[in-house]
Amino acid sequence: MASPLIRVEDLGRDYRLGDVNVTALTGVSLEIQAGDFVSVMGPSGSGKSTFMNLIGCLDRATTGRYWLNGEDVTRLSPDQLAGLRNRHLGFVFQNFNLLPRATALENVELPMLYAGVPPAERHRRAREQLERVGLGERMAHYPRQLSGGQQQRVAVARALVNRPPMILADEPTGALDTRTSQELMALFQALNDSGITLVLVTHEHDIARYGKRILTFRDGRRVADQPVADRILAGTEPAAAP
């Protein structure tokens, strides 16, 4: 078997709050293979978001090691981590995190701006991805002119545009209604079917079941790692009927 896309060993993260040391994550070791669809679950403060930030190279571990695609990223410089995020990772956040003063198209172009892609190709690829997520008609709209679901699709298009092998989604349905959430999960499943690895953080069990595997965190530790027995496949949801 090829080396896993993600491998972490004894991963931990402490924060200092004044004089107190808070352990947000401790002793996590696991692997995620390319093509997997992993849901990360747990209550608030369980360490699931910390785990997500660490494997997303947005934060640095205080203990343990992390290999992304076989590369030890634990000791990389901030700029090297930026390069990794740019080329290997796509992010989707709960609150969309789009630039408010940029159009949908400009938001999707942003990662390519930092990848040094020439303008003509930037436009072409951004259009392509917006069409892929079904927003071909709304490229010139600003985020405030789009619904929550549409904004999240722009975010997904932005995450996809540098063709990363993996997308990390942190509570992507947290600000969406049930129907829009289901549409987004259908999009994620379609992306996963096309070979993109997905890591999804959620506290809703119904959303987690769209994945293939569920990691459960509690008090900074991974307490369970199970395949999804009763997986929901897009289009078969009981509540999906209009």
Partner: protein
């Protein structure tokens, strides 16, 4: 991120907060305008002073005879007749940049015209003296080589002498007795006013040096042809210091003075006065510019202040950019570009305001105003420098944010 993208992004951010950007730039606008206006006023003042000094004879030096030392008592300048007309001719020929080297005899005496009399300064001169001392003829003619050769009894009179003896009527053609010798007045001199020391420069009578040498100033010294002073006028732009050294070296050689011995003559010039005046006006311009620079500095601090606010406000945007792959340098350059664009925009508007303001001020206050291209170039340079200097800290603060903390910022 390439330059065009950076520029586009920076302009977009500045446009999003138009009023704030304009107010921030206003600090720089006022600063640059103040610097340009003050430098223009200072430079105008300096040139006016310099012109006035030039008309007073700034590139003139005076060679005076040396002193007699008798039993340790030095009798002062002029007590020995060491200078000759040949010395003047040699200076004229051998020192580079000399416009005129004019020998003169000087004395005073009683003037009589009709039933009026008046004591005045009497100068025995050559035609070069008119050039060296900037004398112009208001009426009549000047002295010429013929007057000199024949020791003609002709005289030029100053305005004061004319007023005192002829009551303001045209003195040319009239007879003037100088120390009882009758002269014909051939010309009236244009008025020069007072000297630095308050001396009336128009209270003079000029006669040919050859005429003066005989009876009038009583210095018949045979063939030596001694003179009381030599006025040396240099061409514009000549180095007075260097000219003085050359004149000194030439005369020492002519007078056979051994190295280490004192010279038997003195050299005086006005360039020290000129330098003092110019230094004073330079100090004035410097002071004005320094005061104006303070407002530029305040403008720079305004930029820093607003950039810090902007960085804090846009923490989440920074987080987003970092998350999708912006390097620290990308963020640094983005914010620096905004600061520099703000200050350059301020500089351009400030130049327009400063040049306009300087001319308006010159018009209203009737001041001499000179806007130097250099001051405009300097303003742009300094404004860019201020943008970088005061934008650096906020930009670095932005660039060093942790992506996770920035994304979480509310």
């Amino acid at each position: 991120m390439n330059t065009l993208d950076t520029l586009h992004s920076a302009l977009g951010s500045l446009r999003a907060n138009k009023l704030r950007s304009a107010l921030t730039a206003l600090g720089i606008i006022i600063g640059v305008a103040a610097v340009i206006t003050m430098l223009a006023v200072g430079e105008g003042a300096r040139e006016r002073v310099s012109e006035q000094l030039k008309s007073l004879g700034s590139n003139l030096m005076l060679v005076l005879p040396g002193t007699i030392t008798s039993s340790g008592v030095r009798l002062g300048s002029g007590s020995r007749n060491t200078l000759t007309q040949n010395d003047a001719a040699a200076i004229q020929e051998e020192v580079a940049g000399v416009l005129a080297a004019a020998p003169a005899l000087r004395g005073s005496g009683q003037l009589v015209a009709g039933n009026l009399n008046w004591a005045s300064q009497i100068y025995g001169i050559t035609p070069e003296y008119m050039i060296a001392r900037d004398w112009r003829i208001l009426r009549g003619r000047g002295l010429d080589e013929n007057d000199l050769r024949t020791a003609a009894k002709v005289a030029l009179v100053g305005q004061t002498v004319a007023d005192m003896l002829y009551g303001g009527s045209d003195p040319t053609g009239q007879t003037l007795r100088v120390k009882h010798v009758p002269f014909t007045i051939v010309g009236l001199l244009a008025s020069k006013g007072q000297s630095f020391g308050g001396q009336d420069l128009d209270d003079v009578v000029l006669i040919p040096i050859s005429t003066a040498r005989g009876r009038i100033l009583g210095q018949a010294q045979g063939r030596l042809q001694t003179v009381g002073q030599i006025s040396v006028k240099m061409r514009d732009g000549a180095d007075m210091q260097q000219a003085e050294e050359q004149v000194s070296a030439l005369l020492r050689q002519r007078h056979r003075i051994q190295p280490g011995q004192d010279s038997d003559f003195f050299i005086r010039n006005l360039s020290e006065v000129v330098e003092a005046e110019q230094a004073a006006s330079r100090t004035l311009s410097g002071l004005l510019a320094a005061v104006a620079s303070v407002s530029l500095l305040v403008g720079g601090i305004g930029i820093m202040n607003i950039m810090l606010v902007s960085v804090t406000e846009r923490t989440r945007e920074i987080g987003i950019r970092l998350a999708v792959g912006a390097r620290q340098r990308d963020i640094l350059i983005q914010f620096l570009a905004e600061a520099v664009i703000l200050s350059l925009f301020g500089a351009l508007a400030g130049i327009a305001l400063g040049v306009g303001g300087a001319h308006l001020l010159g018009h209203l206050a009737d001041w001499n105003i000179i806007v130097q291209p250099l001051s405009i170039g300097l303003s742009v340079f300094f404004a860019a420098g201020i943008g970088i200097f005061f934008g650096w800290y906020p930009a670095r603060k932005a660039a060093r944010m942790s992506p996770m903390d920035a994304l979480r910022y509310e």
